[in-house]
Symmetry: D2
Subunit: 339 residues, 4 copies
């Protein structure tokens, strides 16, 4: 009865999901793991209450009869092959973002899934499971604030690791905003422009911050600030401006302290602190869906593809300095139930 | 490996805990249920992914070899007998509040547990697992605001059911504040006074609201407002005033809406909405402790006893209109690790 | 056309009012000053754009034909004689708090004013002119939150001067809350109790903080916290709990800063910062009333008397440790238009 | 000793300033008025405590010996001639925005003032006198948040009058933001882009909202939202993003109400409510400066000119859809003390 899961890739995020499935969530068991680093895979497998079986390749893991569903947490360039293999095997697959590293690879996944005739893939955009973003979507969908016209988004990190490149502010950071915006508005983005303000002295070679401008199909204008060296904390802000009112993410501090002339709340230290619960809810709902035998209701292959296309357009816009069209292929009917 | 749990009492809270153990939390399985209403017990047992066994009495359930730990959610007056039976059986028992309906009954539980030589009992005061209260305790314990001197607590319900009596504002409502205050301050309460303001027109025969004054051993003065017909929502507020600063519970609204001349957040509709996560965390930590074979770190028999004594003193204070001493027995060493 | 004003007492508050009348407010001119320290009076008089005339006594100042109205800022024990003299002279008089230092003295002022048949006296309780307190009163009076049942008030000072005695937490500090509460509720207070929590290490010989409990004629229960060594700032909080909702004073920080893991606002440093505008509005409305020849609409002799009676009862309650009745004389019809 | 002021133009804003000078602020007297509508001028003049003299033309008013300083509140196209006349007469002049309706006219004013060799002109950008904006500037200037990199500004009106055109969102509305941004950052703006999101159904023929992008000389990127039919209230928001932190305007509601499931504050109804005090402070400081014989420290002719140039660039950007340079002339040394 527990959903039997195989996890491909046991790096930081893979281990975190295994911990979550084993010690936090209901209804699943990690029965199989694999990793390019076999020792790592063995270590993780042994550490489980019921040791998981270790497979030499992701494909073998996917093929194992007791693996009912698959979570892909391996290196990005390998996502495509594992997701395709899971589709071929007819097994539900949860793939950490990105779905794949190129638009073409995403398209191949979509094609395979469409051929199969049913939704098997969910992509790990966890913000859709955050309580505040869900409340925001509820307000938008209620119609209370009228049609959305503008959307302001702020994505701030205290710092980034040395290997972080200027493109990653788009492909790794703002890509979360791209998915969130598409989901909140329930429509596609059609263009991207990337503006480069005066750079922070903390950014080194990076161009940081960035201000990205996105247009949705109906004309909603979205601005996304990425400030990835802001020092003071991990801070996600958002406001949707409608015809009759607005809705904004609230403050997240659990308590308010009065001390030394200030009344203050806490800013989260990092994305783990801010989105811990969103990851839990995301995976619990996915497990529940697998157990129930219903298609995943989270971000689909189409959403993963669309994020890739917007991302590519934004990178091009960063390089060119001009407004760049986001050109999506035709959306298969399989994905008609959402953005 | 899953902790095998028997649940006594499948009324509202019993069913909710069974749902939580089965569909939300990791690491447990409900293998046994019992209820005075056998049909009800059967219905719940059958509804589980793996049907639980139904027992005719709580004692039989406790005795069952595959029942590793027990959750007591039956009618208050039966708590004592089931908790004692679990202690006798050497099985961890989570008992919904109250631990028992009289101080004497609580004392008998303490005696039995002390005789057994190890902590087996946890009482269901879930606020200790709320993120905001935990952050508040952390600030107090850090010493940043100096020694606590005053504590203001507000406990507001939109409305109460017809059977709610004026004493229940103490025994059912403020009892949560009593436990929270003891835990936050890390010390016992020594007196209670209950003041009766002008009554709300919504309160009918009730005396509502009440303002209770409690003194701690070190002299911290605590005021607890209970307003149980406040209409606007379920609202829990708290502030600890220290020598150098204060800490207060923050706002809980996930989003802020601007509409019709107002900027507004949501007030929770009821205690479920406000403390949903606290219940999850409470029970997960308990299950984890049982699995690890360590004594529970939550509210103990002593805490259940102390809550009963404070509650009784407050009811006496309500009736007499005067300050009433809270007289606790000697605290056994078994409970030395906390308030 | 400018209202010609004589100011008795040019200490800190007297000079501040002269500054206000001369450089901030419209429609008045300080034409006369007096002080027990003649040199001080001369210095202030000379510093004005149009030098004021200096009088040897307050009585002489009041008698001066060009003095149209009087502001009394002298030492408390002298308030009675100057206010009585102003009433005798039929001149409007604004008297800084307290109206007089004893209930009897206040009664004599009331008697004199009643004999004169018209309202001439206003007492300097400036909170009634604070925008937030005014908005709070408006909400109460609108009926939106139903009848008030409880009122929580917090009066926090970072520190107090060496000459501050424990009684001054009542007579100098909480007396502002007493007046504010009477005005907000539109009714008299009938009892006072003073509780003494664990004292702050910053309070030295003082008993600090205090929690005072007041009952209004209709049964509203008021709790007033005075914490006069709270270090973190000057912080005034208040909440009125009605049958259907509550209204609380808002945060006062003009900006919100995000820095070093915190999102924070400013707490005022002292009462000047917090109530600067209230003083301005208070005196401007008084000047306007004098110019228009209408009776003052601010705190009356009756309000000054009531504050003294509540204050005396609270001091007695502090000493006795018991609930003490607030016993007011009969309220003359002259003061019928308000609390 | 009172500063003697002549007011040209007694329409809504002129009357409001006359009321302010007469009934709110210290140290001035309106001794002269003029208006194209003589009857209006007479009516206002007569209504004053000391009737003002009425002049047939602004030039005659400026020339009058008892007029020590001038306030220009007439129709925009007439501003230039009156300001020039005041400069010629060597009299301080406070000119409501705009300084003049064309860049050339502004330049002529600057030339005249520079020829005269001293600052005589102040332009009515009142936000610089708002307590929240001043606190924001103080934080920026303190260096606490590091160098500013981004500035987000929101300018929302509940509705606009029928004669409001799409250009007025720039020339009448955002022009306040232009001035505020220049002052906050202490540097000039160098380009403007105007984006047109999906229009609100409330905007009729208007293009509403707009999102304007401005670059400062040092590269700070500024986005200004104008939503002039937002219905819910008059709402001014702003945040400056620095290298190490941010500073944002705080909430302005004086009280917080809990009712009907919501915790809510008030949004101002219009600009009068929001900026009432800023107008008072602005004019008081100007009057004080005139009385002290020091040059005005508020927005100068240069600031008025710069606002016009930015405004013209933004209008051109709105029409062209492209980024448009803001090309300022050389800044005379006379204006060297600020942006």
């Amino acid at each position: 009865m527990a959903v039997q899961i195989g996890v491909i890739g046991v790096g930081m995020i893979g281990r975190d999901h295994i911990r979550r499935l084993t010690h936090v969530l209901a209804g699943s068991q990690v029965v199989a793991v694999s990793d390019v680093d076999a020792a790592s895979a063995n270590e993780v497998a042994e550490s489980l209450p019921v040791p998981a079986k270790v497979y030499g390749t992701g494909e073998e893991l996917i093929a194992a009869p007791d693996v009912q569903s698959v979570i892909v947490c391996s290196w990005g360039p390998t996502h495509e092959q594992y997701v395709l293999a899971a589709i071929d095997a007819g097994k539900p697959v949860f793939c950490e973002k990105p779905l794949a590293t190129t638009q073409d690879a995403c398209s191949r996944i979509i094609d395979a899934e469409v051929r199969g005739g049913r939704r098997l893939v969910q992509v790990g955009y966890m913000r859709r499971y955050d309580a505040a973003y869900r409340a925001m979507k509820q307000v938008i969908d209620s119609g209370d604030i009228g049609a959305p016209l503008l959307l302001h988004s702020r994505h701030r990190n205290p710092s980034v690791p040395p290997h972080y490149t200027r493109e990653m502010a788009i492909t790794d950071t703002a890509v979360h905003d791209f998915d969130t915006v598409r989901w909140l508005l329930g429509e596609e983005l059609v263009s991207a422009t990337v503006l480069t303000p005066r750079p922070s002295r903390h950014g080194g070679e990076l161009q940081d911050p960035l201000l990205m401008l996105l247009e949705s199909a109906s004309g909603v204008l979205v601005d996304v600030e990425t400030s990835v060296n802001i020092r003071y904390g991990y801070d996600i802000q958002g406001e949707v401006v409608g015809e009759d009112g607005t809705v904004a993410l609230g403050e997240t501090s659990p308590v308010v302290v009065r001390h030394s002339g200030a009344v203050s709340g806490r800013v989260p230290a990092d994305w783990r602190e801010r989105f811990l619960r969103a990851y839990d809810v995301e995976l619990q709902e996915w497990v529940d869906g697998v157990a129930a035998g219903v298609p995943p209701n989270g971000p689909s292959s189409w959403d993963g593809y669309a994020a890739a296309v917007v991302s590519d357009a934004a990178v091009e816009a960063l390089h060119s300095g001009t407004k760049t069209a986001v050109t999506l292929g035709e959306k298969p009917a399989l994905y008609d139930d959402g953005a």
